[in-house]
């Protein structure tokens, strides 16, 4: 069952990546990458159990943390008024 779950997580990673590549535009990509981050947390946890060494879950905790930091950073720093982005908003 572990294998099945890992496979599901990997497939979802690919699907999420497709959304991140297709976009369109910033917010869809942020959403996709945020979701990709949680999938890597799951993948690392599952990989630890698959390798019979589940004592490395600290990594999963760290991934969850930095994923949050990155999402907040994107939101915060892309909010600066960028005349070019403004132009794009008009064109949307």
């Amino acid at each position: 069952m572990l294998v099945a779950a890992t496979a599901a997580v990997l497939v979802t990673m690919v699907l999420t990546l497709v959304r991140a590549v297709l976009g369109p535009r910033l917010y869809n990509r942020i959403l996709a990458i945020n979701m990709f981050g949680t999938k890597t947390v799951l993948f690392v946890a599952l990989a630890g159990f698959l390798a019979d060494r589940p004592d490395f879950l600290d990594i999963g905790l760290l991934y969850a943390l930095v994923n949050f930091v990155a999402t907040i950073a994107v939101l915060r720093l892309t909010h600066e008024d960028d005349p070019l982005l403004e132009g794009e908003r008009e064109a949307r």
Binding site: V9, T12, P24, A45, P54, L57, A64, F68, H79
Partner: protein, 107 residues
Amino acid sequence: MSASLLLDLASSASLLVGSLFVLSGGIGLLRFPDFYTRIHAAGLTDSAGAGLILLGLLLQTPGWETAVRLVLIVLFMLLTGPTSTHVLAQAAGRDGVRVWRAGEPRR
């Protein structure tokens, strides 16, 4: 029917359902028509899918150290996941991303 067998069964079931949630969330993220509907899909995998998979792992942990970490991960995700989707949706709203209505082309 022993306790360990019961645990194994519960763990497998939880993993299976969690995987289905994760997969459906991935498909939803790909297929839904606009940003706000996709947030729904992402929220689904992040809470239900991840929670169930981690619960499934929790049911087959060998020692308490691993169990504590799993619980911490779940708690952390429960705190940060909704926060980031909430902030994302609000930021998108402020930035003028419009809600999709039936009949419009996908975005």
